[in-house]
């Protein structure tokens, strides 16, 4: 086998089907949650033996094409603030560049422990993944489990942070017409860098981009989602370009993921239209939590490979297997629950065509 194939896996029919399945599940979750499916697909590919950096690179390339298709639809609905997207993008490029640099450095053995190539990058990606997504899942669960009467007036997104920052009025301020908000460049900069960094590190920039736009900038939810997708298109393009330049994009994985994901996205988006919102958020947070557990289980394996802890190397397969089990169990269960709801709602839709007419005798004043 050629040396260059070392960081690209051999793809047989079994692996191909698993990648398609990963794409499908990621797509369904992505369409349903509206914030990318990389949190499932990236670790899923790592569980199949794909190097972390190749998984991230192939996924970011996948995200690029997906976002391009999706943002066109959002654009037609008027949900894209291009000025905001371009502003975040300019700062996000710094973040992506930082992420690509760190990942490449760690992949090439930059951790300095003489460990197997890729273990440093794998550990780093897994740790970032666990911390960020744990925070997202827990805050989402807290929202879902909050009694319905609590904070009646604030049932929508909280404006506390956005109001506080608006009061600071740090010039220069930029007015975003579609999003109908003014944001200081000094606030925009760190948010953009963080979004780009996460997109470049674990391929889930949307997890910080969308909440930031809503809570920090005060952008309406639909515009935040549309703008993020528009932004993701450029970030994905830049990330794909950068990783491809480094030689980490496995186009085969990207194409296999598309086979499942684009179909899944349509079904997920359809699910959002027909499934109760609380159910959507509960399903999403549980799925993300299980993904976090799955990735957490794999961490000792990377720590051992880097020489930080001493465990029998034979245990790697158990860690890998358990991690894989949790990941697939969460993804498959979540997807089945979503598909069940989608099919049920679809059948109901075709069955429920109701117009109830009540004609009354006049009850008019004399």
């Amino acid at each position: 086998m050629h040396e260059f194939l070392a960081h690209f896996i051999q793809i047989d029919v079994g692996i191909a089907l698993q990648v398609i399945l990963l794409g499908f599940i990621g797509g369904v979750l992505s369409g349903f949650i509206g914030s990318g499916g990389a949190f499932f697909m990236t670790p899923g590919m790592m569980n199949l033996g794909v190097e972390g950096v190749v998984a991230v690179a192939s996924n970011i390339a996948h995200k690029f094409g997906k976002a391009m298709v999706g943002s066109r639809k959002h654009g037609e609905a008027g949900n894209v603030d291009k000025r905001l997207a371009v502003s975040v993008l300019l700062t996000a490029i710094l973040g992506i560049q930082l992420a690509v640099w760190i990942n490449s450095f760690l992949f090439k053995g930059g951790s300095g422990h003489g460990a197997a190539q890729g273990a440093g990058a794998n550990l780093y990606i897994s740790l970032v993944f666990v911390f960020i997504l744990l925070a997202v899942a827990l805050s989402m669960l807290r929202d879902v489990l909050r009694p319905s009467g609590e904070g009646e007036a604030g049932a929508g997104p909280s404006r506390k942070i956005a109001d506080f920052l608006a009061r600071l009025n740090l010039p220069p301020m930029i007015h975003f017409k579609v999003a109908d908000t003014k944001v200081s460049v000094w606030i925009l900069l760190p948010v953009g860098v963080a979004t780009g960094y996460l997109a470049g590190t674990i391929g889930v920039g949307g997890f910080i981009g969308v909440p930031s736009m809503i809570y920090v900038f005060g952008v309406p939810t639909a515009v935040a989602a549309g703008t993020e997708l528009y932004l993701a298109m450029f970030m994905g393009a830049y990330g794909a370009l950068s990783y491809a330049f480094q030689g980490f994009v496995d186009i085969r994985l990207t194409m296999l993921m598309y086979l499942g994901s684009l179909l899944g996205i349509y079904l997920g988006v359809y699910g959002v239209k027909v499934v109760n919102e609380k159910y959507i958020r509960l399903t999403t947070s549980v799925i993300i939590l299980l993904c976090v557990i799955s990735r957490g289980i794999a961490i000792p394996m990377y720590l051992r490979q880097l020489g930080f802890i001493s465990i029998d190397p034979d245990w790697d397969k158990y860690f890998n297997l358990t991690s894989k089990f949790f990941l697939f169990a969460s993804g498959i269960t979540g997807t089945l629950l979503i598909l069940y709801q989608v099919i049920r709602a679809h059948r109901q839709r075709s069955g429920l065509h109701k117009t109830l007419r009540v004609v009354k005798q006049a009850s008019y004043p004399a």
């Binding site: 260059f4 690029f64 037609e76 929508g156 997104p157 794909a240 491809a244 330049f245 065509h353 007419r357």
Partner: protein
Amino acid sequence: MPIVLISSSPHSVGQELAQQLERKTGWPLFSRKQLAEQAHDQGIKLSRLETSIVKSPVLPEKLAREKELYLAFVTAKLYENAVEGNLIYFGRSGHLLLPGVSHRLRVGLAAPRQIRVENVVRELNLSPEKAAEYIDRLDADIEKWIHYVHRQEAKDPGQYDIFFNLQNMSLANASMLLCETAALPDFRQTPLSTKRLEDLYLAARAKLRLAEDEHTRSLDLGVRAVGGVVTVTYMPRQEEAAQSISHVLQDLEGCRENLCTMAETTILWIQEAFDPKAESFKQIIQLAQRWGAAVELLRLMPYKSDAPESPTVSPEQHQSRSPKPTEHVYTGGVEDDESEAPVDDGGLARTQEELVAIGRSAGGFTVYGGTGEVVEAVRENSHYSLVILGDLFLDKGPETRKRQTREMGLTIRERLKASVITVAELESRFLFGKKQALKAVLYAAAVVCLYVLVFHFQEPILNFLGGEIHAKWKWLASITVTLLVPLVAYTYGTVAGLVLKLIDID
């Protein structure tokens, strides 16, 4: 005579203008202050709504309902306070109330900033600097209010029938001019404008009643009234609670018929004449069934000299506000309620009948005029997922018809923030026909070629992406990936979308 709706910047002299007009005409004066007090007594949390709108650009679901409730309350109060159809209302964004009622006179008023600052200094005992700051903040808050409650831009001059700038004009002269304007025939009450007002009043009372009842207050409803027929659309997930809708509305005064349609969304279909046997009707029904949508019909007729708005209504004719139908046969809610010979309604009633029969009706009505009148007529109920423009401007030539339809589409899209298409585009955009089948086959063939190519030549391709060739041609490899990926996504995405469209999932 008209309903005069005066809107002015805070702490200017809008109230004085309204009072002067009241003295000259003897018409009742109703202010926003009185309205706010009555809303408070009714349990509508106006201050919470105001605070929330000022603080957040996104209205939470509950507050969005509160907004609808407030607008319904305002409409009902304006109607009830009008004596013989006459009323002077003074308040923020007053000119945006009672959309589509042609006998309202929308008045704007601007006073010099200095006068406003002086008024604030005197009324609130603030320093001139603080007063100026206060006025700026207040103006910004009102802009937000107009933006989020009425979905309009505050500075659009097209919203007013007359605008006074008191920079060089005295209040007395402005009031005299306003009095003369109000007497113009353009603002006289007509049977059509009376009917529109009564429809708004009935819909407002229906909304208020549904909001009061514990079984229906938490539902997301679309309510419209036309000629005594109240049409309510509700979400499928609220099916159980929605059974109470008819019960709640059963003894609503003026409501002779109630239609309740379960729908996830509403499609607005605008056309000059409808035919339930036409191909376009079948296509729209197919789309409505797929989306779980209700279809609202809007028959758009051009202004004509014999249009029903021409004759004015005398006070005697207008004493009874509630329509009194003499027969109770369903008419589609579009004809006059008086017993009359059948009128040509352009197939509206028949088409609506058909929609009711298949459970997809969201009501129907006729509008005389152009784009502005259409927007006004649907503004208060404008949560449409799609607006379909059918055959319009039939008295014009094909080119003019096409241009005017396109212009109307652009305006509606901008004003209602909804997707707008023509009937001709319906099949290619949302349905699966022969053209779509052909497209699916061609794109699927392209997808197969791309995949076969990549997986058949895996080794050289991987070499190009990460091997020795890559080392020499890094930029070329990057650009190839960046071009290939969206190509695959677009072609395969099109195939996947078309296949799902074929099985009615989109």
